[in-house]
Amino acid sequence: MSALSPYVGKTVTVITSDGRLFIGTLQGFDQTTNLILQSAKERIIVPDNATETLDLGLYLLRGESVVLCGLVDDEIEASIDWEKVRGMKLKEARLPKR
């Protein structure tokens, strides 16, 4: 069973079940995937307008809302001009209909 320990102290990008994208430094986690994100920022990527970045500060994310937590390569991240990025809006995570 793999844990998030190799990511602690590094920059990670998190997607939540409501379709939001966050980036920040992972300071801690637990078995239910509750996350501590330091210097968290939300990136709002839309098809038509420039990407907005909101600075949020210290964030405690509840594990239930976490969909994915990915390691960010800081060099590549710094080389991206986020204002130019366009993309489809992320959908909410939903359980499949029966």
């Binding site: 500060g57 210290l58 405690l60």
Partner: protein, 123 residues
Amino acid sequence: MLPLTLLNTSQGHPMLVELKSGETLNGHLVNCDAWMNLTLKEVVQTNAEGTRFFRLPECYVRGNNIKYLRVPDEVLDIAREKNQQQREESRNNRQGFNRNNRNRQGGQQGHQQGQGQHRRRQY
């Protein structure tokens, strides 16, 4: 650091709680537990659209309804300091225990003493 440790350290600090419904609660954390249930005081409740506001002197949030919490940045530093202090304290306690038992004969005696101490601490 464990997220719930951070939460416990932020008792007394102001914070923002966003619920799964999209509602937000801005208030001071009074208490919290292992299930992330919270009691907040002096709370401003905002609906998901951000159009209606309510003021609540006190409120209880069941942990499973929380999406995330925003906490002041200094709380992380305070929590780290506490962790360090606790580690130093437990180190000092353990050193004292070993020093007392080093000269005593019979591992069993030492072992029982250890269990006794542990039980006492639980009370």
